[in-house]
Amino acid sequence: MSLVTITENIIKLLRDYWQVFLLRGVSITLLLSVITVFFGAILGSLLAFARMSRFKMLRWPVAFFVELIRGTPILLQLYIGYFVAPQVFPFLGMSDFASIAVALIINSACYVSEIVRSGIQAVDKTQNEAARSLGLNPAQAMVLVVLPQAVKNILPALGNEFVMIIKETSLASTFFIGDLMTSYLTVKGKTFLSLESLIIVGAIYFVLTFSLSKIIGVYERRLKVSD
């Protein structure tokens, strides 16, 4: 197999299957990633606060759950989401996409909860004390004094999480839900051009994650300037 043949094949694939890669593949990967990041961030923040709660009965189970998810392979969690969830909750009538999305969201939420928690804990605790000494209650001190400072630690890490998730959604192709990695499987099945399809898919992933990283970098520098 010469470099020339490979290049020719890639061009051919792009011409014949660009819709599979770019329209279907990229859009489903991005959709899945955005949904995961968005709901993962919300659920993750709730988990973070639960884990910092005064109440042991809340703190301990949440801590256990977060560590459990972080300590087991994501692919295993996707299998559970795909096969087990629809059987446990048949009345929800979840599509494959929804089942996978829920599994990804839960997985991401557990990582995000640690990002949020460490972002908050990185704010000097004397800031909280100063706020409390003025008479602010714990919620007011958290929302008006600690969180605005924690956001500067949290947002960049959340951006990195987004990049990670774009890559991790590729595991969803195990269940043929039409993401970018699934488009590789589809095109390979039709053309038997495995390497060429992989190169195309890899290049698209790289463009996505690289440009996202750059955007985050710009944003991060702006945050730094503003503090």
Partner: protein, 241 residues
């Protein structure tokens, strides 16, 4: 005004405050001196319950703060606190640092709080800094801001925990002079300090703490000129040299 009754504080097994019963009256300027690690900060922080006493009581204006039913947030509004490390809010402008609590806690409208902030900033010579961000301030300016932020709640008493210890020497004076103005204004002050000259000059009473107890107390004259306890004598001989 503030009374501690058998105030005791442990950090784990370490006894940091040992059965302190003390009363501070309105209008007093009380300096607390003593070697580091003797429990001065912990004592001060117990007064507004930033540290929760292990046992004993803190009574403020007749209210038992250590009682579970007491709304501590309400009472803290009347007790300003100034920290060694300033602890100004870095994400807010100088003025917003000052107006945050009075507006949020409904003590003042935004306009009233703003006017008071301007007046207080003028009093400490920082009018031109109102719109500035705290990171642009020197240490001395940060500490003056912290004092003004506490004053904006119009507290009945101010608690200072080594307000000049983190400052470069050339900035100590400007902060002490702000505190002296408060003394002239008749405010009740409790000041943990290593500035012995200052303590001697402004205090109505000096408490000497060591090993979690108030070992000796009296007027500045009594403590600095004629200390009775050997511990006080030894401490003063080291710091005054």
């Amino acid at each position: 005004m503030i009374e501690t009754v058998h105030l005791t504080k442990y950090f784990g097994k370490l006894k940091v405050l040992d059965d302190i019963s003390e009363t501070i009256q309105q209008g007093e300027v009380v300096s607390i001196i003593g070697p580091s690690g003797s429990g001065k900060s912990t004592f001060l922080r117990c007064l507004n319950l930033l540290e929760v006493p292990t046992s004993g009581q803190v009574i403020f204006d007749g209210v038992n703060l250590t009682d579970k039913g007491t709304d501590i947030n309400l009472h803290r509004q009347k007790m300003g606190m100034v920290f060694q490390q300033f602890n100004v809010f870095p994400h807010l402008s100088v003025k917003d640092n000052i107006t945050l609590a009075p507006v949020l806690l409904k003590k003042k409208t935004k306009a009233e709080a703003g006017a008071l902030a301007d007046e207080l900033l003028a009093r400490v010579g920082m009018t031109d800094k109102a719109k500035e961000h705290p990171k642009k301030l020197s240490g001395g300016q940060k500490q003056r801001l912290a004092i003004v932020r506490a004053l904006a709640m119009e507290p009945e008493v101010m608690l200072f925990d080594e307000p000049t210890s983190a400052l470069d020497p050339e900035m100590v004076g400007e902060v002490l002079s702000v505190i002296k103005d408060l003394v002239k204004g008749g405010m009740t002050l409790i000041i943990v300090t290593h500035e012995m000259g200052f303590a001697r000059e402004v205090s109505t009473r000096v408490l000497f703490m060591d090993e979690g107890r108030i070992q000796e107390q009296g007027t500045p004259e009594q403590i600095f000129v004629n200390p009775q306890s050997p511990r006080t004598q030894s401490f003063l001989s080291k710091v005054l040299r």
